[in-house]
């Protein structure tokens, strides 16, 4: 048995050194961003706890028309359609925000073409607002199939590689709405209607961090 007070034999030290040589360098690799982020984000509420909370709210005779679940659900016809749109925008974000080689179809270097093209396809003017004062620069954009027609996705990125996407699609017969919020797993979405366009701003983050950016986007889109 190894006595902790006795030094290891040379042969044992050689064993340890061999293992250190084989596996040591793994710890020198750059840390993946997702792990660093995981230490910062408050943990997601566990489903069981959320269900218990929903029941508690219900039993308390709450007049709130929502359930405490992972999603903040909208009620009413119009709101549900808009929430579906927000979920679709969140999915598009998850698909393309992690894309390394082809995050966008048209790069920001060709911004005027990007804006003209997407505006023509959507049938209404859409223009990504500048967010450089918040540390985010435009990467570019792409055309996507939306819930009821073409949709535009603009992608932004900051210096540490975090990406936001702004999703826009036309919404027929609409009015303006206030901000609505949806947290879908680790994806946060603020969405709203502005005249005939539905917008969603999506980030792999939480509400508190996304809100100030969403407010700027909202202000700057309000032509």
């Amino acid at each position: 048995m190894t006595d902790p007070l006795q030094p290891l034999s040379p042969a044992d030290r050689a064993v340890d050194a061999e293992l250190q040589a084989l596996f040591g360098p793994i710890a020198d690799e750059p840390l993946p961003e997702r792990l660093v982020r995981a230490t910062r984000r408050p943990p997601r509420r566990r489903v069981a706890w959320a269900a218990a909370a929903a029941i508690a709210i219900f039993l308390a005779g709450g007049t709130l028309g929502w359930l405490a679940h992972d999603h903040v659900r909208e009620t009413g016809g119009d709101g549900t359609a808009l929430a579906d749109l927000a979920r679709g925008a969140a999915m598009a974000h998850r698909v393309f925000a992690v894309e390394v080689r082809h995050p966008v179809e048209v790069a920001a270097s060709d911004e005027s073409h990007l804006v003209t093209w997407l505006s023509r396809r959507l049938g209404t003017a859409v223009r990504p607002p500048p967010l450089s004062d918040l540390g985010y620069h435009l990467v570019g954009g792409r055309l996507l199939p939306g819930e009821s027609g073409p949709a535009a996705q603009f992608m932004y990125e900051n210096a540490s590689g975090e990406r936001l996407t702004l999703y826009a699609t036309t919404a027929a017969g609409t009015s303006e709405t206030a901000f609505r919020f949806l947290q879908d797993g680790d994806t946060a979405v603020f969405y709203w209607l502005d005249r005939d366009v539905a917008y969603a701003l999506i980030g792999t983050t939480d509400r508190a961090r996304l809100l100030p950016v969403a407010q700027k986007v909202y202000e700057r889109l309000d032509r």
Binding site: T2, A14, E18, L19, L22, F23, I26, A27, R34
Partner: protein, 162 residues
Amino acid sequence: MRDALVAQLPGLRRYARTLCGDATRADDLVQDCIARALERDHLWQGGNLRAWLFTILHNLHMNAVRAGRARPVHDALVEAAQSAAPADQHERLAAREVLARLADLPDDQRAALMLVAVEGLSYEEVAAVQGVPVGTVMSRLSRARARLRADSGEPPGLRRVK
């Protein structure tokens, strides 16, 4: 707490890599570990953060093993060591033999050795991670090192005979 967690990430990733092999799965394990730690940080009484995190990681991995979701040990070790494989042919052969012997160790012995030799945990910390007395850790280490020593004479793969 956040900065302290980040400081533990390199070691946790490395240990997870020797358990899972594949870097993505290892990082998934570390991410689950961090999420679990944050969920339970109200239960954490202060004290040894490193030992606590390695304990969570160990338990999560054991759950995966019991559920049949873990990879064979040998494949995991070979894949983990690949990024660090020596270029020299002779050293590579030596490394292959060490990996084979390491893979042959009982899981508890191998884990104790990796935690002490590579992660630099103390015997007390390993005892906390494995949930056994310090004396048990010491005997696990002693047996593991004896089997890995180059002069142990036994070729790897033949000591499963019991």
